[in-house]
Symmetry: C2
Subunit: 588 residues, 2 copies
């Protein structure tokens, strides 16, 4: 190696030793005859010392020629520092340099390589390789590596086998849009990149692999949002001969293991909630249960009192914000503005202050007396000092809006700490949902999800009421994973495809291999997949998955560092039997 | 779980316990009032017992209705077997069944699910999920998983960090043909799938990650051979601040660890050979050193004796096959036929039998007397009883042909045992090779490989003689890995691209980001990549990587199980701004 030690290694016990260090120049201080250089590598920072008079002048010359981010090799003796730095592990010592060489010069980087940088998002994406030098960024990828490793440790120790499934698969119309790959050897035909290895992992269960997992790249050609990337990583798992309870226990165990080993946090028992209850109590299928403020429906106490808005509403529902009765006019107006935003969509907000003295003050005093509001307070378990916030309207949009308001209040009141983690199972999702646009049912998870055994009969008579044998894992209000007990019976699978509007031929063309497989002895099986990028972000206390991806793409799906995608040569297109037709008149 | 134990778990100590097993029906034997069923799962086989008279008749009815590969759940008591089977670990016990249910019926599989099956290649690929049920096949994937795991263990413990690099990258004209992915959001532009994460891992070194690895899928759109797949897996590694010796030691350590943990084999010291010597001694850059029979050049003793064929040849070169002097006419003719095959390409074969009595008998007795042949024997260290086999012609094709003959003889003489493993480093490859067809130099490894420091000067004056600072790892004659110390200097990289015929603009367009990165403080670095599929096959003693891939493609790049690639809808093509043009007149 070009070094004898790393820059994070030297301590008092090394004093007197001759060492060779390599790394990047982080900082140079020149102070009347003394030069100090902070030398940085992945492992830490070590101070180099150059002393006029004692350090040979040709070395001083090299040292003074250095700039930030130069790559150097320095040899010398470890000595005790006069003024120690207790902020870094190597702060007791420095290197009295007696040999110095420049391994590579560096232009001045376009932004500072410090924990807090002056570079904007675009610049840092273009020079991602420099952004990755920053300790805060590198640590995110180190966290990712540790999560990966502990995930594998847990699953390996639980008798799972990691199997790599193919990346070049087959395009299917169900689900999100596929990325496709033209096949040169099969002109006019295309592979697709997997949105998940769903059918392959089910086939592995048919093969008797019993317990499968894979940390696997998946792909979705969707319009991107801040927390979406065209390629993402899943922890993909499947088990045979299991019931839902077995899956929940196994993967609760995984999450428990990850929190224990990475954060030394015991997450305790993981509560479970029905989908219907989650929607009723939180207006969300991924409630953040770090704080309370659950919903209280007020129809029976708020309707029939002459307040037209409430009387005509399908639902009157509120939350109780603790100790917020003293909110000012301005604060209340801001909350009203918040719920009226187009993306939230409420028409207005009713508030009721339950004053410390037991009196009430509301925005609807005209319609509701003290006695009425007392009943509201009872319904909501409000206490003097609390603020009740009430929305009304059609059930689904009202719940959705109140969910946003609840999360907003949670933020305002500091109830959503990044250091607190609350894990939750959400169970019994609807199997299908009706889509007005396409005038057909869509699978809420995917077409391979089985109905709850007790709902099997309703598949034909009342599909909309059938619950799926499915489950989502939610951490701090973020959906981290989801899965289901799968269909393993050909007839039921065929029925499911029919319900989703597939003709028999379509179903056979797309998924015939899976249905065939079910006829050769498919075991009962089920599984789950976790969004690994999101899991990393959640562990890191961040909202953005992009920080946890080494080389992410921007919101147009571009890698601005390597400038991709890009045009390809006419010859490549010919070989692929393709023509590019920009602005095709028929194109959407 | 639907089971209390697996089918590989029960022993004498469980006798008397009530258990529930699940699995597949492997075999049914019905013998006058007694029925035995072998129940199989991933973990083993357990025998179920049904006894007329004592087993309830409705259970007997179910049992007799079962067929091969039915999935069942059986409950009962563990009892000691009357006639034990010491070939399986559960052979001491059986289950006296008192409850039996069919979890899924099974059609008769199209081939037998046994270690030796009656299914042909095509049928087994189409029903790969059934082929994977066979123990011998499943064990190959279990070996793969263990290799993966131990690779990660070793690298994790050596301070490497696994970083996922992108799958959607940029097409480059260098190297093999890329698979491309049209971008819907950037019409007319394409991503490419990586042939390797080469540039990304180098950027990670520029980022200061110090030691990187990744088990990563790579893609090459090449015409397929038996041991090639369009998608394959690499162990991809890179290290900073290293010299060649550090890389060799680190990855020799990896291979040593894998052989020790998986096969309990100590591979001993790994010999090293120069590329030039490998070509001279074995006619191959990946010699199989499980056996000797290295080449001996005979020009000085064989030429000038009036044998025109030899006199006009650039090279006369032979091997000595030990104890083969008694080869019959027929055997010798077969060897001649072998070297004359078009893919071997020799015009003929000269043999010299060194008889046990010290006399010689050769196919060129007309030109060479006893004394001459004695000199040959001395050159080749032949002993009485040996057979000398000699080829002649132009240097390269002759070496290539003799390499094939040597391997053939190795097989014939049983010197290439699947249970023996010989690891070898091949060093100092040429940096570039001249390509007659394109009339330019090609990189022998890739354009990022650095020249040996001492050859740096010859880059311009005599590029063909420059050796690369590169290395290949060879096991049993198979190239398992290769790598190099990389260029980390912008000017040298630019010079390299120029040597390879890139214009400055082309180089900048394709690899500008990398050359830019080199200007911001790139450390000296180097790395290696191992073909993981081939490593698995080598460990498994097989020539075919396909067996070690869960869902392989056939030689036309098709997955015949899922029937991929396939056509996509006109709507998908529109969204991608593409037209399919079959048989484009301009197309090759």
């Amino acid at each position: 190696m070009l070094r004898s030690h790393t820059c994070g290694e030297l301590r008092m016990e090394h004093v007197g030793q001759d060492v060779i260090l390599t790394g990047w120049v982080q900082r140079i201080r020149d102070k009347g005859g003394l030069i100090w250089i902070d030398l940085r590598d992945k492992y830490g920072i070590t101070q180099l010392l150059f002393e006029e008079g004692s350090t040979p002048s040709e070395i001083i010359d090299v040292a003074t020629s250095l700039g930030r981010e130069y790559v150097i090799q320095a040899s010398g003796q470890v000595v005790e520092r006069v003024s120690k730095n207790d902020k870094i592990p190597t702060g007791d010592v420095e290197i009295k340099v007696n040999r110095l060489s420049i391994l590579n010069a560096a232009k001045t980087p376009p932004f500072t390589i410090e924990d807090e940088t002056d570079g904007g998002d675009d610049l840092r994406l273009k020079y991602r390789y420099l952004d990755l030098r920053r300790k805060t960024v590198r640590e995110k990828l180190q966290l990712r590596h540790r999560l990966m490793r502990e995930t594998r440790n847990y699953l390996d120790n639980s008798d799972f086998i990691e199997v790599e499934t193919p990346v070049l698969i087959k395009s299917t119309p169900e689900g999100a849009r596929d990325f496709v790959v033209p096949s040169r050897m099969n002109p006019g035909e295309f592979y697709a990149l997997p949105q998940s290895p769903q059918t392959f992992k089910q086939l592995l269960m048919v093969s008797g692999f019993d317990r499968y997992y894979q940390l696997v790249k998946c792909f979705r050609d969707e319009d991107l949002r801040a927390d979406r990337q065209p390629e993402f990583t899943q922890i993909d798992c499947e088990m045979s001969f299991v019931e839902r309870e077995d899956i929940l226990n196994t993967f609760e165990g995984l999450i428990r293991h990850l929190f224990k080993t990475l954060k030394n946090i015991d997450i305790g028992d993981v509560p479970r909630i029905q989908y219907d209850d989650a929607m009723r109590m939180y207006g969300s299928d991924k409630p953040d249960i770090r704080f309370g403020m659950s919903f209280h429906e007020l129809n029976d106490v708020a309707q029939g009192k002459g307040f037209n808005v409430f009387d005509q509403a399908e639902l009157v529902v509120g939350i109780c914000a603790p100790n917020c009765a003293e909110y000012t006019r301005k604060q209340l107006d801001a909350l009203t503005d918040f719920v009226r935003k187009p993306q939230i969509g409420a028409k207005g907000l009713v508030y009721v202050k339950y004053n410390e003295d037991g009196s009430f003050k509301s925005s609807v005093d005209k319609f509701y007396g003290e006695e009425d509001l007392k009943k509201w307070a009872e319904k909501m378990s409000a206490k003097p000092g609390d603020l009740m916030l009430v929305l009304s309207g059609d059930i689904n949009p009202t719940r959705k809006a109140l969910n946003e308001l609840r999360l907003h209040m949670g933020n305002e009141l500091g109830l959503r700490s990044k250091d607190e983690f609350k894990v939750l199972w959400v169970l019994d999702f609807p199997l299908v949902e009706w889509d007005e646009e396409t005038n057909r049912y869509h699978a809420m998870h995917h077409p391979f999800t089985s109905p709850r055994p007790e709902d099997r009969e309703k598949m034909i008579s009342d599909p909309g009421s059938v619950k799926a044998n499915a489950y989502d894992l939610v951490i701090n209000g973020v959906e981290i994973g989801g899965g289901s007990i799968r269909i393993h019976d050909r007839d039921l699978q065929q029925e499911m495809f029919k319900l989703l509007g597939f003709t028999d031929e379509e179903a056979k063309k797309q998924f015939g291999f899976l249905m065939d497989a079910f006829e050769f002895g498919a075991p009962p099986h089920g599984g789950i997949a976790f969004g690994f990028d999101r899991l990393c972000a959640t562990f890191g206390g961040s909202d953005s998955i992009r920080d946890y991806i080494a080389f992410p793409k921007n919101n147009s799906g571009r890698d601005v560092m390597i400038d991709s995608p890009s045009t390809i040569s006419e010859e490549q297109l010919k070989e692929l039997s393709l023509n590019v037709v920009l602005n095709r008149p028929e194109a959407k």
